[in-house]
Amino acid sequence: MKFGIGNVRLPNVKPPSMLRDRSMPKLLVMIGLGWLSLFFIIPVIVLLFESFNFGDGALLDNYRQALSGTYVRTLGRTLAYAFVTTVVCLILGYWISYYIAFKAEHKTLMLAFVLLPLWIAIIIRYFGVSLFFLPTGPVQQLFGTDFGILFSTTGTIIGLTSALLPFATLPIYNALQSIDEEYIHASQVLGATPLKTLRTVIFPLSLSGIIAGALFVYILAAGSFLAPAILGGPGDFMMANIIEQSFSYSIPLAAALSVVFTVALLILIGIFNHYANISEVLSDL
């Protein structure tokens, strides 16, 4: 390599070997992907094989069962609960993020309290929600009723919202925070009402945060085992609970249910990806 500035020749500096050696980082990437493949991707593929029936009967027997009445209803319920949780988390997350980003005086402190629960095991937070509504908890002590919330669909959704709200708030806040205030100012100077500024300037510019938040909350909510197990009733079981339950008596069925659930989620994510480029959103994290 020769450097030249006008007619002044610089000495021919040979870069040290580490800088020339560009294969080392690729090797490191391969170690990570190798670990992930060996202990995650291959086990999942093994599970995929176990979902097929190689013995007597049809190859797809387990799928016939996994796609029958109760299980399909559970799948529908799972996707619906995740959807409701996502909508609630996005509304609350946007509301509070907007306040913290544009109005709050103690931004760091308010944000810290949104993120604090992420450090505390999810099972403890669900336990806290159940304590709140139990006969010994403040709601029943005060009102004499839990308003039918505990061990119900509402209880499950409240639990999921409590657990996943930080995952919606963080990306939305980051998106709002990175909006150039000049745009907002320009919109106001040109006479837009605060609501119009929100609708035509702020909201479109924060869309990437909303997409990332929605994706996180939806995936984590759909895969939840603990929320229905601790806060839901018998009719609130989601896919994770059904998979765990069926695993104890039929591993092939549990495997087929896992495959059906994952494929359903992947299809939904694929549709979502059609409208919003997910890996672009994820690479912004």
Partner: protein
């Protein structure tokens, strides 16, 4: 719209968000100090009897030791692998880099129930010993995406030219590694390890398939106790867990900054 009414519009959100996020944690901590035999709010006195009970329960103490061993080992394994991978991704350009980075996040997207079931079956085929080896390996997978994301975002701010500068100034490769590269990577890696510790320490869903009677972790005990009957002892145990996790997270913040 006046400034005050503009703020009032946010009051319900502030109240609701912090209530839904923080009440569950506060109530677990509060009920651990009750004098009653049920997990009630300590309105008629405060006692530490449930903590005394906790520290006499050998099963719980054993679980605490198991959880600490598992989480520490997970922190080391996931911390090292995650840092190595993040470093590789930041430092190289190759085809399908974004896709492969998304693949690193797969354990986040697949329900931990499926991860647990798949790992139990796979571990059986490969004859990975039950107990610690299986739990730690599975936890290392669950923690890997978080370590990867955190370390990668920190390394992205590291100017590679610092190394070039060091070597042009005459330091050799080893000196550069020790004096420039490691001091930059180490805090990122430690932050990643602490995340891995916290995730492992609180993991229940995949772990429930992998535990054995002698390697039962604390979240498993908490879940079983919730199912079988409520005692303020669960609150005391959960509060102890909260304290450990908060200490670890503060430590992580402090080292990371």
């Amino acid at each position: 719209m006046s400034r005050l009414s503009g703020r009032l519009a946010f009051f319900p959100a502030i109240l609701l968000v912090y209530a839904i996020l923080l009440i569950p944690i506060v109530i677990v901590i509060a009920t651990s100090f009750t004098v009653q035999s049920a997990p009630t709010l300590p309105t008629d006195g405060v006692s530490l009897e449930w903590y005394a009970e906790l520290f006499q329960n050998q099963r719980l103490l054993d679980a605490m030791v198991v959880s600490t061993i598992v989480a520490s080992a997970t922190a080391v394994v996931a911390g090292i692998i995650g840092t190595i991978t993040a470093f590789g991704f930041v430092r190289s350009e190759f085809k399908m880099k974004e896709t492969l980075a998304t693949i690193m996040l797969l354990p986040l997207m697949i329900s931990p129930v499926i991860t647990g079931v798949a790992f139990l079956r796979f571990g059986g085929y490969l004859q990975i010993p039950r107990g610690y080896p299986q739990i730690i390996l599975a936890h290392s997978i669950l923690a890997l995406p978080f370590v990867f994301l955190i370390v990668r975002s920190r390394l992205l701010t590291f100017d590679e030219r610092l190394e070039d500068a060091s070597m042009i100034m005459g330091a050799n490769r080893l000196e550069t590694t020790f004096n420039v590269t490691i001091p930059v990577i180490a805090p990122a890696m430690i932050a990643g390890m602490l995340i891995a510790f916290v995730i492992s320490f609180g993991e229940f869903t995949a772990t429930q398939f992998l535990v054995t009677p002698s390697t039962t972790t604390v979240p498993i005990i908490i879940f079983n106790q919730i199912q079988t009957g409520l005692s303020p002892e669960i609150s005391a145990l959960a509060t102890t867990l909260v304290v450990i996790m908060v200490i670890v997270s503060i430590l992580g913040d402090w080292i990371g900054s």
